[in-house]
């Protein structure tokens, strides 16, 4: 419990400064403290003006993503002791505009997410009296991996394509589109195809694979993108050879 570690925290206060600076704080470093515990210690005891997002502390809400020593991390699942003897540099997620301190503007991601209709689309909703939409364990397994996404945006921070071309729709959105495309209750794949096949859609990805490496939930967005490219290519071939639909 006696161990301490230094946090170098990026500060950006748009009313006061035109670019980021760094503040240093010394915080306790017990075995079970994560980077987020360090930040909470700073805010509660040392400097109440530090701004960052967090909520659940257990990798469900996806709001505490930051850059820790250069890598995109969920700060609730990154132990301070991994970086002993320190220092630990904490910066906002890369590839997003910074609003203040460690808080980035997530508007671009949210707008892209809605475009692929990340919900179950039915042409005709069956009446309540007809009962539930049933699904076998195998049918669940088809998309389960992609349903683990918590929208933490670490994959966007890691994606070199998104970094160069912010129009790229990006890894998590494609993985989430696949989550619904592969769900046997869903009938929205064709509508999603229009969005995903655009220039900035899946074709933007050159399969760098960084998204899969940083994903804290093992969603494998890179795998989703490759799989979708294949099905999109097959569909476009089909429409070429069988223009009236097979």
């Amino acid at each position: 419990m006696g161990d301490r570690i230094t946090l170098q925290v990026a500060r950006y206060r748009p009313e006061q400064e035109s670019e980021a600076t760094y503040d240093e704080f010394e915080v306790p470093c017990p075995k079970d403290w994560v980077v987020l515990d360090g930040l909470n210690h700073v805010k509660d005891r040392l400097d109440g003006t530090l701004a960052y997002r967090w909520s659940c502390r257990m990798g469900i809400c996806g709001s505490c993503g930051m850059t820790v020593n250069g890598e995109p991390k969920l700060t609730c699942a990154t132990f301070l002791s991994e970086y002993a003897p320190g220092p630990v540099r904490v910066e906002p997620l890369r590839n997003f505009p910074v609003i203040r301190d460690l808080i980035v503007d997530i508007g671009d991601f949210m707008r892209k997410l809605v475009r692929v209709k990340p919900w179950i689309v039915r042409q005709v909703e069956k009446p309540l009296s007809a009962g539930e939409y049933l699904q076998t364990p195998d049918e669940l397994e088809e998309y389960k991996q992609f349903s683990m996404c918590i929208n933490c945006m670490l994959c966007y921070a890691a994606c070199p394509i998104y970094g160069l071309d912010p129009k790229f729709i990006g890894p998590a959105v494609i993985a989430l589109a696949q989550r619904y495309n592969l769900d046997n209750r869903d009938q929205g794949a064709a509508a999603r195809m229009e969005v995903l096949s655009e220039h900035e859609g899946i074709w933007g990805c050159t399969f760098v694979g960084e998204c899969t490496k940083v994903c804290p939930k093992h969603v494998d967005p890179a795998g989703a993108i490759q799989r979708y490219k294949l099905s999109a290519a097959v569909d476009s071939m089909k429409s070429f050879f069988l223009p009236r639909g097979a």
């Binding site: 419990m1 206060r13 009313e15 805010k43 400097d47 701004a51 132990f79 609003i99």
Partner: protein
């Protein structure tokens, strides 16, 4: 006991604490859950998420380490009084989910009911609120004046003020006091102490320090507002618990251990009087299919009857 329902497990924890059989840690007293006898293979196959949770967020491995366990508050069964459309008695104000009290949970919410509640009543509240908003009602000028006043108050009290009390210190003390006075077991005496402590904290809150004067993403101001609301909610909880001289569900009074349907088969509604004090009124409970009954287990339960509740199973993830 490890497989018992969580409220009974929490009550058992307090009994162990009172007997001095718990372990002191920086996070308070704990008991240990020992899964080591299961072995790595079984743990990976049956409860992989429990292991992942421990390893990723606590830096310990249940294959070889003991898991520290203690009861914590993780859900509010009471809340803003709403009907089944999320509408509150205040026209235009809607609430749903944990903030609301649509009264489906009674005195002891069943595990896994909070998410379905949110989905069902969130959708209903959203539709009802949209319908209300689209009626194009004229806005009462009194409300606009109130809004301006509130805005001015917040600017004055939160943006430009200098105080000496840290938000986190007051919040920690509130949490400790609520756990001691209104936690798993309550009594008239503990609740009286709790009320005194909450009043002291409310007075200290007037002098709360806000270092952050920025108008951009000011999370400290949000924390200060939250703390003020939490102190109000704390007062509400202590007030309603003091008046309820019985035990029911999660409300366990050691000085009144029996359920008293004659006096308290009712919802507690807490109001703020003009002089600032709190007032409790009661609303009758609508009984539909299951009348309240004794909660019994195993042999004592009528087989398959409404009171037959089997022990819970070890959850594979976080409780919801």
């Amino acid at each position: 006991m490890e497989l018992g329902p969580r409220d009974r497990l929490s009550q058992a924890f307090v009994k162990e604490l009172e007997k001095g059989r718990t372990v002191d840690t920086p996070y308070g007293h704990v008991v240990h859950l020992d899964l080591r006898h299961l072995g790595e293979k079984k743990i990976n196959a049956k409860i992989p998420f429990v292991r992942e949770l421990c390893m990723k967020y606590q830096n310990l491995d249940p294959v070889k380490d003991l898991i520290p366990v203690r009861p914590v508050v993780h859900y509010m069964m009471g809340g803003i009084h709403t009907d089944i459309n999320g509408a509150t008695p205040l026209p235009g104000l809607y609430a749903a989910g944990e903030a609301a009290c649509v009264s489906i949970n009674g005195a002891n919410r069943l595990g896994s009911n909070s998410l379905p509640e949110l989905l069902v009543f969130g959708a209903r509240a959203g539709r009802a609120a949209a319908e209300y908003a689209s009626r194009g009602l004229a806005i009462n000028p009194r409300i606009i004046a109130q809004k301006t006043d509130e805005h001015r108050r917040l600017e004055h009290e939160l943006l430009n003020k200098k105080g000496s009390e840290r938000i986190a210190t007051l919040r920690d003390e509130m949490q400790k006091s609520m756990e001691t006075s209104s936690g798993i077991y309550r009594s008239g005496a503990s609740l009286r102490n709790g009320m005194e402590e909450i009043r002291r904290l409310q007075e200290r809150y007037v002098d709360v320090a806000i270092e952050d004067h920025s108008k951009t993403f000011n999370t400290e101001r949000v924390s200060a507002l939250e703390l003020s609301c939490m102190l109000d909610v704390a007062e509400t909880i202590v007030t309603a618990a003091t008046r309820r001289e019985e035990s029911r569900g999660a409300h366990q009074r050691i000085d009144f251990p029996a359920r008293d349907d004659k006096r308290y088969l009712a919802h507690s509604l807490v109001y703020r009087n003009a002089d600032g004090s709190a007032r409790v009124e009661y609303l009758p409970v609508t009984i539909t299919r299951w009348p309240p009954a004794e909660r019994v287990y195993g042999e004592a339960a009528p087989h398959g009857g409404p009171n037959h509740i089997t022990g819970g199973t070890l959850s594979s993830g976080a409780g919801v």
